[in-house]
C-alpha cells in the first residue's frame, strides 16, 4: 500500500466526517467548519491524483497541485464571506440561525402549532 493511497483514504474519511457534521450541526459557524473539512478531503483526494501522476524525475503531477493551491485560497475567501454574513445577521437579529423566520411567513407559523 503506497503512502499516497493512505492519504486518499484520509481524504475520503474527511469528506464523510464533514458531510455528517454539515447536516447534523444546527449552528451556521459549525456548518462552515464542516464545509471546510469536506473541502480539505476533496483536496487530499486530488493530492493523491497528483502523486500517482508521478513520472521519472518528477515526483508529482503539478497540474492538480496548482488547482489545489487556488482552491485553498478560494475556500478561504468563501469562508470569509460566510463569516461576514453571520456577523451581520447576529448584529441585526441578535441570533444566528438557519431556521425559517416565523414572523415573516405567517402561513407556516399557522400550520405548525
Amino acid at each position: 500500500m503506497s503512502p499516497s493511497i493512505i492519504a486518499g483514504f484520509v481524504g475520503a474519511g474527511l469528506v464523510g466526517i464533514g458531510l455528517y457534521a454539515l447536516i447534523v450541526n444546527p449552528e451556521p459557524l459549525r456548518k462552515l467548519l464542516a464545509f471546510n473539512v469536506i473541502g480539505n478531503g476533496v483536496f487530499l483526494v486530488f493530492g493523491i491524483v497528483s502523486r500517482r501522476g508521478a513520472i521519472a524525475g518528477f515526483p508529482f503531477d503539478p497540474v492538480p497541485q496548482a488547482m489545489v493551491i487556488t482552491g485553498i485560497v478560494v475556500a478561504f475567501a468563501a469562508s470569509a464571506l460566510a463569516v461576514a454574513l453571520m456577523l451581520r445577521l447576529a448584529e441585526e437579529a441578535g441570533r444566528v440561525t438557519l431556521e425559517a423566520d416565523k414572523s415573516t411567513k405567517p402561513d407556516e407559523g399557522a400550520r405548525s402549532p
Binding site: L29, R51, F60, D61
Partner: protein
C-alpha cells in the same frame, strides 16, 4: 510494514481523530482551536504527498489566516442565545448513513483509480524550459493555466466586495473594527515589532524563490498578509478605510496587471495571455509581484470584515 507506512498510518489516525473531534465538540470556540491543529496536520500530510507548495499554502492560509478569521468570529458569536434544537435521532442516522456511503464511494474511487495514472507531468516538464521557470507548479499557475489563476484573483476581489456590501449604508467607505483589544499586551506589541520586518523579508523571499523552488505568489502573499494582520492585532496600525484609493488600487493591482499583459499577448506573442518567447520569465515574475501585493492586501481585509465605523470617524 516500512517506517514510512507506520508514520503515515499514525498521521492518518491523528488527522481523522482531530477532524472528528472538531465537528463533534460542544463549544464552538474549542472546535475552532481543533480546526487550527487540523490545519497544521494537513500541512504535514501535504509534505508527505510531495507537495511542499500546497503544504506552504495550507500552513499559511488553512492553519494561520483561517484560524484568525474563525477564532475572531466564534469569540464574537459565543454570547448569542442557544442555537436551534438538536436534530432528531432519525436525521442523525440518515446523515451518518449518507456520510458513510459517500466516504465509502470516494475510498473505492481512490482504490480503483486508473492504472497507469493519467498525468500531465510530462507535458508540464517538456515546456518548462520555454517559461524559464524551474518550479512546475508556478508554471502551471501563471503560464499554462494563467486564465484560471487570473479569474481566481477576480474571485478574491469579488469576495472582498461581498464582505463590504454586507455592512449598512451609513458606514459605507468607513473602516472595519479594530482587530486587537483596546490595550494590547506589551509582549504582543514587542512580537509584532520584531516579527513583521523578518516576515516581510521571508515572504518576499518565498515569492522570489517560487520561480524555481517550492514557493510562489500565493504563499509569499499569504505570509505578508499574516504579518499585516499581526501588526493590526497589536494595534500598531488600524484597518484602513475601505474608501481609500490606495487600498482599492492594491486590491485590483494583481488581476489588472495580469489582464493588461494578457491583452498585450495577441500583439506580442500571437494570442491572449501568451508570453513572447524569451520574455516569459520576467513577465511572469512581474505579474506575480503584483499578485503578491493583491493577496497581501486582500486576505487581511477579508479577515477584518465589513466596515463598522463611519467614514469620518
Amino acid at each position: 510494514m516500512t517506517l514510512f507506512e507506520a508514520l503515515d498510518l499514525g498521521l492518518a489516525a491523528i488527522v481523522l481523530g482531530v477532524a472528528a473531534w472538531t465537528v463533534a465538540v460542544r463549544e464552538v470556540f474549542s472546535a475552532v482551536i481543533g480546526y487550527v491543529a487540523y490545519g497544521l496536520l494537513l500541512a504535514i500530510v501535504w509534505v508527505r504527498l510531495y507537495a511542499p507548495d500546497v503544504a506552504l499554502t495550507e500552513a499559511a492560509i488553512g492553519g494561520g489566516v483561517t484560524g484568525v478569521l474563525l477564532l475572531t468570529a466564534s469569540a464574537r458569536l459565543s454570547r448569542l442565545p442557544a442555537p436551534d434544537a438538536a436534530p432528531s435521532a432519525g436525521l442523525k442516522i440518515a446523515a451518518a448513513a449518507l456520510a458513510f456511503l459517500v466516504a465509502g464511494a470516494l475510498a473505492a474511487a481512490v482504490v480503483y483509480l486508473p492504472d497507469p495514472a493519467p498525468s500531465l507531468a510530462a507535458a508540464a516538464d517538456e515546456n518548462l524550459a520555454a517559461t524559464g521557470l524551474g518550479n512546475a507548479v508556478t508554471a502551471v499557475l501563471i503560464a499554462y493555466r494563467s486564465f484560471d489563476t487570473m479569474l481566481e484573483k477576480v474571485v478574491l476581489v469579488l469576495a472582498v466586495v461581498g464582505v463590504w456590501s454586507v455592512a449598512p449604508d451609513r458606514v459605507w467607505g468607513g473602516a472595519p473594527a479594530a482587530l486587537g483589544p483596546a490595550t494590547p499586551d506589551a509582549a504582543l506589541v514587542f512580537l509584532a515589532r520584531m516579527l513583521a520586518p523578518i516576515g516581510l523579508v521571508i515572504g518576499v523571499q518565498i515569492f522570489w524563490v517560487g520561480a524555481d523552488e517550492p514557493g510562489g505568489a500565493f504563499q509569499g502573499g499569504a505570509i505578508l498578509a499574516a504579518m499585516w494582520m499581526i501588526v493590526m492585532m497589536a494595534r500598531l496600525t488600524e484597518p484602513p478605510r475601505i474608501g481609500s484609493g490606495w487600498l482599492r488600487l492594491g486590491l485590483i493591482a494583481g488581476p489588472a496587471i495580469f489582464l493588461l499583459i494578457g491583452l498585450a499577448g495577441p500583439f506580442m506573442a500571437g494570442s491572449f495571455l501568451a508570453f513572447p518567447a524569451g520574455f516569459a520569465k520576467p513577465l511572469i515574475l512581474f505579474i506575480e509581484a503584483f499578485m503578491v501585493l493583491s493577496i497581501a492586501v486582500t486576505l487581511p481585509l477579508l479577515v477584518a470584515g465589513s466596515p463598522s465605523r463611519e467614514a469620518g470617524e
